[in-house]
């Protein structure tokens, strides 16, 4: 396929869609799917076929719309000349609502199911990564192309050198969305520069490439499902980002590492890869150029540590997912010892928009050091749970109270937890902190991959810390001692707090141990594992102290130095 063919395909698809004056989008994301959206879609299709609108309404299943708690979500779109389609959103739609929904098409919306999009949940969001999620059918490449998909790839292949692509990404200020926030352009430049022959390598036969691009879709944080929604709702966007990355760094082979627990994401990515291969956007000599790029899917198998770059590589190589010391970094010494670019799903989903609209546009969004938007999975004790995308620099208060709609059941806000088991709890007094990498780190938490869990005043913060530590303990790979034995001891001490057996001595030891695990562990899992404990100790220390046993360690006290204790015998 060349650019002309792409344009033609897009035109054709758009014309076909415009021939249908109405579209009904039924969310088929995991949340709505679980709420029965498949039945709703069938009912709507049947109803349309029976109605006078037959042939004028297209019913399609789309990716996540974000407001998962109100699922199944249905959107009715009406084409308008020279403007974005007018749309009406319905929540909690059941199959038996189908006749009413179809009857209302072209007329007044169904009041009972109507979801006002003029509320902060929608108006305060800014969608870049998720712009097509919930608009397009994730199982049809034509739909993606019709909305401008793969234009960025052709722009890159036809007009830009690899180093120009890297410059563009660098100037955009994009930083890794996997959690640590490493500048993406710098990472690409390092891989592009890296010499594949520097380290002795063993590349298995059948694997040709000397450099690799890996998409990290091993979203393991409990309470996070951003990457899942992107992979399920807009898989081609991820592929396009990967192909561009491959072109920029000089790699010909890519791997998407996805959790096996995400069967729908795996299925949609497989479909997307097949479709892209069929039209010549993946494979040898893409778009008739000299550039070739292939993508394979590798399944994770349930190990949180494999989100760590070097552990992920070990897993793709077919081994236990053990991290190894860095340096050398994967950018120089990665998969099978070759230079390897590893980017998170959300990072790669940002690439095409940056190429299309330019680095300056992207850099105009966000704060001085954190550009663009961030997708969060907003969950916990908050009215509107779901998937949101917000510009960097928005405050936590806006997220929790405007977008999230505040705390339900008349309870009070207590803390918001970001970054999952690697992050921390942020209390009320810091709610006006802008969301960017540096500010969250300064508060003892991290941006993380995007889990955002709201806790109300009924939450026991020591229990929260213990919960996360149990997670880290069970997910520790066991290779290095501070993480393997340290997380187990932290968990043990926290359990003592919860069973009324902790003493002041345990509190002191807990603090010392957190410092050891944080600084002596081998990889990010161990280094960040103490964060939930440290942040709750910092902001909710009184909750720990209130749990100390009342008789404490009160069986006398040590005298320590004999010089003083025994001075009377001298």
């Amino acid at each position: 396929m060349n650019f002309e063919e792409l344009t033609q395909l897009a035109e054709r698809e758009r014309a076909a869609q415009h021939a249908m004056p109405f579209q009904i989008h039924v969310c088929a994301g995991t949340g709505c799917h679980a709420a029965g959206s498949e039945m709703v879609a069938k009912a709507l299709e049947g109803e349309v076929a029976r109605s006078t609108l037959k042939g004028k309404v297209l019913v399609k299943c789309v990716g996540c719309r974000g407001l998962c708690a109100s699922g199944p979500i249905v959107e009715v779109e009406q084409q308008q000349p020279n403007a974005e389609p007018a749309s009406v959103l319905y929540a909690h739609v059941r199959p038996e609502d189908a006749p009413e929904v179809v009857r209302s098409i072209g007329g007044e919306p169904v009041e009972r199911l109507f979801l006002d999009t003029n509320q902060p949940f929608f108006t305060r969001q800014l969608k870049i990564v998720l712009e097509d999620c919930g608009k397009i059918d994730p199982e049809r490449i034509e739909d993606y192309i019709a909305r401008g998909g793969y234009r960025a790839l052709f722009k890159v292949l036809d007009e830009m050198t690899p180093s120009e692509v890297i410059d563009e990404i660098t100037h955009s200020g994009l930083r890794g969305r996997g959690g640590a926030g490493f500048p993406t352009g710098l990472k690409w430049a390092t891989v592009a520069k890296a010499n594949p022959q520097r380290y002795p390598t063993y590349v298995p036969p059948g694997v040709q490439s000397q450099k690799f691009v890996i998409c990290n879709g091993d979203e393991g944080d409990p309470g996070a499902f951003m990457d899942r929604s992107v992979m399920e709702g807009d898989p081609h966007r991820v592929l396009e980002g990967m192909i561009i990355a491959g072109y920029a760094v000089g790699a010909n082979q890519g791997y998407i590492y996805v959790r096996a627990e995400y069967p729908l994401a795996v299925k949609r990515l497989r479909t997307a890869i097949r479709q892209a291969q069929r039209v010549g956007l993946l494979g040898n000599n893409i778009a008739g150029t000299a550039f070739s790029f292939n993508i394979d899917i590798r399944l994770g198998a349930g190990a949180f540590v494999c989100g760590e770059e070097t552990a992920l590589i070990a897993s793709i190589e077919g081994g236990r997912g053990l991290p190894r010391p860095r340096p050398p970094y994967p950018a120089e010494y990665g998969l099978w010892g070759c230079p390897t670019l590893i980017n998170n799903v959300e990072t790669l989903a940002n690439i095409a928009p940056i190429i299309n609209r330019g680095a300056a546009w992207f850099a105009s969004i966000g704060t001085a050091k954190s550009k663009g938007t961030k997708v969060f999975a907003l969950t916990g004790q908050v009215k509107n749970t779901g998937l949101i995308e917000v510009p960097m620099g928005i405050t936590l208060r806006e997220i929790v109270f405007d977008i999230g709609g505040g705390i339900p059941n008349g309870r009070k806000f207590k803390a918001v937890q970001t970054g999952g088991p690697s992050g921390g709890c942020i209390p009320e007094q810091y709610l006006d902190t802008p969301v960017d990498y540096e500010s969250l780190t300064a508060l003892g938490s991290i941006m993380g991959s995007g889990g955002l869990i709201v806790m109300d005043d009924s939450t026991d913060m020591v229990e929260v810390a213990r919960f996360f530590m149990e997670f880290c303990m069970e997910e520790s790979c066991g290779k290095c001692i501070p993480c393997r034995a340290g997380t187990a001891q932290i968990h043990h001490i926290l359990t003592k707090f919860q069973t009324g057996r902790a003493t002041m001595r345990d509190l002191r030891l807990l603090e010392e141990l957190c410092d050891v695990v944080k600084h002596a562990s081998l990889c990010g899992l161990g280094q960040s594992a103490p964060n939930p404990v440290l942040s709750t100790l910092r902001y909710f220390r009184h909750e720990y102290e209130a749990k100390l046993r009342s008789d404490g360690y009160a069986y006398g006290h040590a005298n320590g130095a004999a010089e003083e204790a025994l001075s009377h015998v001298q």
């Binding site: 006398g556 004999a562 010089e563 204790a565 025994l566 015998v569």
Partner: protein, 182 residues
């Protein structure tokens, strides 16, 4: 000048540490000149005295009597020394903890499963103090000032520690001679 009041007690251990203590041979005479032994398994004193300068605790805390005693020792002693590996780590005494976290299982194993003759857990009131669920090192129960490891601590190590204390100094527990477990 007062003489240093020294106590030694024997909790959950084999008495090997006390044997090693006796291995100090003729230095015991020098010791006797410098300290007053106010309580010890090798002295006939029934009640732990009110005021003690230094108490050496051999053995781990294994039953309720031990628990009560170490708390009393802490209250009445200026310096408490964990004397030997059982006191410092739990050592062999604590190996029963691996078996189960309940004392019941340990008693069953020792008195019911293993004996070939008259298997029965001694249950007459007041004859045996109840076992703790888990055997604990002394510092898990009370603050300890000095740790004197070894199974048993070699006599020269005991001497070096006591010598320092007699001189009113804190023993320097450094290096293989002073610190090796086992």
């Amino acid at each position: 000048m007062e003489k240093l009041k020294l106590a030694t007690v024997w909790l959950g251990g084999c008495s090997g540490c006390h044997m090693s203590f006796l291995d100090l041979d003729e230095w015991l005479f020098d010791l006797a000149a410098a300290v007053e032994v106010v309580f010890s398994p090798i002295a006939d004193v029934k009640q732990f005295p009110e005021q003690v300068d230094v108490t050496l605790i051999e053995g781990a805390v294994a039953n309720e009597e031990h628990l009560e005693l170490v708390r009393m020792i802490r209250a009445r002693s200026r310096m408490v020394i964990s004397f030997g590996d059982c006191a410092v780590t739990g050592n062999v005494t604590a190996m029963r903890n691996v078996l189960s976290s309940s004392a019941e299982a340990v008693l069953n194993r020792a008195y019911r499963e293993l004996p070939t003759f008259n298997p029965r857990i001694p249950d007459e009131a007041g004859i045996v103090p109840p076992l703790l669920e888990r055997v604990l090192p002394v510092h898990a129960v009370i603050p300890v000032d000095v740790f004197l490891p070894g199974c048993p601590p070699p006599a020269p190590r005991i001497r070096a520690a006591l010598q320092a204390l007699i001189e009113g100094k804190t023993p320097e527990m450094i290096g293989r001679e002073m610190l090796k477990f086992g």
